[in-house]
C-alpha cells in the first residue's frame, strides 16, 4: 500500500490531532460520568466538563474529516494538492484556535465572571450546546474551513476529474460549512434560538455529515475490496439522496415542544421515521460489496468500515426511531433516552467512520505493505462492547426516568440521585472500559507500520 501523491501525507497531521482530542474527549467523559454520582468531585463543574466532552468530539470528527478529505481529493483528482503550505497553515491555525477555545472554557470554569459580556457578546463561551465556541472563534473557524474548501476545489480544478465520490464529499462539506451559519447570530427569543440552533445541529449530524459518511463509505469499500466504482457510486447517490429526502424535513422531530406550530408533529413524525432507511441501505451495501470481494487488501480497514455501517444504523437509526414519534417523544423528550441515542449514534456513525478512514489510509501514508492488525481488533472490541453497555445503562436510566418522573410525577432530583444511581455507577465502569479501548487505539495509531511484523501472522478475524 503506497500513496499516489506526496501531499496526501498531510492527512496524518489531522489524524494525530484528532486522535489526541479523542483521548481528551473520553478522559473528560469519565470525569462527567463520575460527576453524575458525585457532582462536586472536580475543580471544573459539570457544565465545563460537558462542553469539553462534546466540543472535543465535534472538533476531532471535523478535523478527521478534513484530513480524510485532503487524502481523498488528491487520490480522486489524480494530482498533488493545490497548495500544501496552505493546508499546513490551515491545520496549525485550527490547532491554535481550538487550543485557545479550550483554555477559555477552563478559565470560565475557574472564574465564571470571566465570561461577562463585552459589547453584548460573551467572550469565552456562547452558552449554546455544541456550539459553545465564542463568536471570535466562530469567525476563525469559518476562515479555516473556507481555506480548506478553497484548497480542495482548486485541487479538483487542476485536473477537472470530477468523480461521484469527490463530488458528493465536497457537496457534503459545502453543506456542512453553510449550516454553520445559522448558529452565528443572536436572537432575543429562546424559541427562535433553538429553532436555528437545530438547523446547525440536526442538519449536520442527520444531514451533511451523513452525506460525507455515504461518500467515504463508497471510497473505503472501493479501496479495501477493489469493488467497481460504477456500482458503488450508484448506490452512494441513492443512499445520500434518501438521507436528505428524509433528514431535511426530519428536522421537524426537534420542533415538537419548543414553541413551534403543531404541524411539525406531523412533518417531523413522518419524515424522521423514514430516516433509518438509507442507513439500512448502507449496511446492505457494505455486506453486498464485502461478499463479492475477491481481493481484500486491508482487512482491519474493511472490518471497521462494515462495523461503522452497522453501528450507524443501530445507533443513529434504531436508537433514534424508538423515541421519534411525537406520541412517544412527549414522554421521553429531555430524558436520558436522548443521551443514550446520542452516544451510540455518534460512536457508530462518526467515531467509527473516522477510525475506519484512518485504518484505510494510514498504512499507505506510512508506506507499509502489511501490518499487525491485532491491536486494531482488540481496541475495536474494547470500545464497542463498552459503548454498547454504556448505552444500555443510559437507556435503562432513561426508561426509569421516563416512568418515574414523567409518568408518576416524581421529582427529577429524586429519580437521578436515588433510583438511577446504579446506572450511573455501571456507566462509569464501562466508561473506563471504553478508555482502555481508546488507549489501545492511540498506541496502535502511533506505532502502526513502525515495528516489524510478527513471524507468525495472527489468525485472520472475520471481516
Amino acid at each position: 500500500m503506497t500513496i499516489k501523491y506526496e501531499s496526501q501525507k498531510i492527512a496524518q497531521h489531522f489524524y494525530t490531532f484528532a486522535v489526541l482530542l479523542f483521548l481528551v474527549q473520553v478522559l473528560v467523559g469519565i470525569i462527567a460520568a463520575i460527576q453524575f454520582i458525585k457532582p462536586d468531585v472536580f475543580i471544573l463543574n459539570f457544565n465545563i466538563i460537558r462542553s469539553l466532552h462534546i466540543n472535543a468530539l465535534v472538533v476531532w470528527l471535523l478535523v478527521g474529516f478534513m484530513g480524510v478529505t485532503y487524502y481523498v481529493i488528491s487520490d480522486e483528482s489524480d494530482t498533488e494538492l493545490w497548495s500544501l503550505p496552505l493546508a499546513k497553515f490551515q491545520f496549525w491555525a485550527t490547532v491554535v484556535t481550538i487550543t485557545l477555545v479550550v483554555l477559555g472554557y477552563i478559565w470560565m470554569g475557574i472564574s465564571p465572571q470571566a465570561n461577562s459580556p463585552i459589547n453584548g457578546i460573551n467572550p469565552l463561551n456562547e452558552g449554546r450546546e455544541y456550539i459553545e465556541a465564542p463568536r471570535w472563534a466562530d469567525y476563525l473557524i469559518v476562515v479555516s474551513v473556507l481555506l480548506f474548501l478553497l484548497n480542495c476545489f482548486m485541487t479538483v480544478l487542476k485536473t477537472k476529474k470530477w468523480t461521484g465520490i469527490q463530488g458528493v464529499l465536497l457537496g457534503g462539506l459545502v453543506f456542512l460549512a453553510l449550516m454553520y451559519l445559522p448558529g452565528l447570530f443572536y436572537t432575543k427569543s429562546m424559541v427562535k434560538d433553538q429553532f436555528w440552533w437545530w438547523w446547525v445541529v440536526h442538519l449536520w449530524v442527520e444531514g451533511s455529515w451523513e452525506i460525507i459518511a455515504g461518500a467515504l463509505l463508497a471510497f473505503m469499500l472501493m479501496k479495501t475490496t477493489g469493488a467497481k466504482r460504477e456500482v458503488l457510486e450508484k448506490w452512494m447517490y441513492i443512499e445520500v439522496g434518501l438521507v436528505l429526502f428524509t433528514g431535511i424535513l426530519g428536522t421537524g422531530h426537534h420542533y415538537y415542544w419548543i414553541g413551534t406550530p403543531k404541524y411539525w408533529l406531523w412533518v417531523g413524525g413522518i419524515f424522521s421515521s423514514l430516516e433509518p432507511i438509507p442507513l439500512l441501505l448502507m449496511v446492505w451495501d457494505a455486506f453486498r460489496t464485502t461478499r463479492e470481494a475477491r481481493n481484500v487488501t486491508n482487512r482491519p480497514g474493511l472490518f471497521y468500515t462494515v462495523a461503522h455501517a452497522i453501528f450507524n444504523f443501530v445507533g443513529a437509526g434504531l436508537w433514534g426511531i424508538i423515541h421519534t414519534l411525537p406520541q412517544v417523544n412527549k414522554w421521553t423528550h429531555g430524558t436520558q433516552v436522548t443521551t443514550a441515542h446520542g452516544h451510540l449514534a455518534f460512536y457508530g456513525a462518526y467515531v467509527l467512520l473516522v477510525i475506519s478512514m484512518i485504518y484505510v489510509t494510514l498504512p499507505s501514508i506510512r508506506g507499509v505493505k502489511e501490518y499487525n492488525p491485532s491491536r486494531a481488533y482488540l481496541s475495536f472490541w474494547w470500545m464497542t462492547i463498552s459503548m454498547v453497555f454504556i448505552v444500555l445503562t443510559i437507556t435503562g436510566a432513561g426508561m426509569v426516568q421516563t416512568y418515574m418522573e414523567r409518568l408518576m410525577g416524581l421529582d427529577y432530583v429524586a429519580v437521578k440521585t436515588t433510583y438511577n444511581l446504579w446506572f450511573w455507577i455501571l456507566r462509569a465502569i464501562f466508561g473506563v472500559g471504553f478508555l482502555i479501548g481508546v488507549g489501545i487505539f492511540v498506541v496502535d495509531f502511533f506505532k502502526l507500520g513502525k515495528e516489524p511484523m510478527p513471524v507468525v501472522s495472527p489468525a485472520p478475524e472475520k471481516a
Binding site: 462536586d40 463543574n45 459539570f46 457544565n47 465545563i48 460537558r50 462542553s51 465564571p112 465572571q113 465570561n115 459580556p117 453584548g120 460573551n122 456562547e126 452558552g127 449554546r128 450546546e129 461521484g164 458528493v168 432575543k188 427569543s189 429562546m190 424559541v191 434560538d193 433553538q194 429553532f195 450508484k234 447517490y237 441513492i238 439522496g241 436528505l244 429526502f245 431535511i248 424535513l249 428536522t251 421537524g252 426537534h254 415538537y256 415542544w257 419548543i258 414553541g259 413551534t260 406550530p261 403543531k262 411539525w264 408533529l265 412533518v267 412527549k330 429531555g334 436520558q336 436522548t338 443521551t339 418522573e405 414523567r406 408518576m408 410525577g409 416524581l410 421529582d411 432530583v413 429524586a414
Partner: protein, 224 residues
Amino acid sequence: MSNKAARNLFIIGSLFFFVIFLVLTFDTMGKLDKRAPVITEEVNAGKMTWHKYDCIGCHTIFGNGSYFAPDLTKTAENKPKGYLKQFLMDPKAVNAKAAMPKFGISAQEADHLIAFLEWTSKVDTNGWPPKPILAAAAGVGGKELSAGQRVYQAQGCTNCHMINGIGGTTGPDLTKVGSRRDRKWLHEHFEEPQKVVPNSAMPGYKHLGDQALNDLTEYMLTLK
C-alpha cells in the same frame, strides 16, 4: 437506473425537500411571536445571563440541553420567586443537598433570569411537559381529600416538598413532619417562615387566612 439518473435524482430531490423546508421555516417564523409572551428588556437580559453562565451545560430548557439538572421550562410556574432568587444567588445556603455550585449570580442577574424563566413558562409548547398520569390520577381517585390536603394541592406545595416519595426535593421532606414539629410551630411557620427558620426561602402564606392554615397544620400533624 443509470449513475447519471441517480445523481440527478439526488440533486433535484434534495433541492425539492430543502425548498419545502424553507417554506415551512418561513411560515413558522411568522407564527412564533404569537405563541409566546412579549420579550421585554428584562427577559432578554435574562436570556443573556442564561448564556453567560452556560446554564444549558447542566440544565435543559424546552427539553434541550444537558440532562444533568432539572428542566427549567416551567420552573417559574412551579416555584416561588423569592425562593428562586435566593437559590440562584447561593444554592447550597437554601438547600444543603443542592448539586448546583455558587456562580456569583448577582441579585439583578437573578431577577433577570427569573423574568426569562417566566417567559419560557408561558410559551405554547404544544402541551409539553405533559402532566404526569399517575400523580394526577392519585389526587382524584379513591378516598376524598381532607381540607388540609386540598390546600396542600391547591398551593402547589408538592413542587418543593416531598411526602412519601412524591414531590420536589428543593424544600425539606415532610413525610414525618408531624413527629418533628408541633401545632404552634407549624402555624407560625406558615404565616411567616422566616420567624422560625431565619434563612428560609419559603414564601409566607398568611394571606390564605386562619382557617386554611389550621387545615394545613392539621394535615401536617397527621404525617408521622
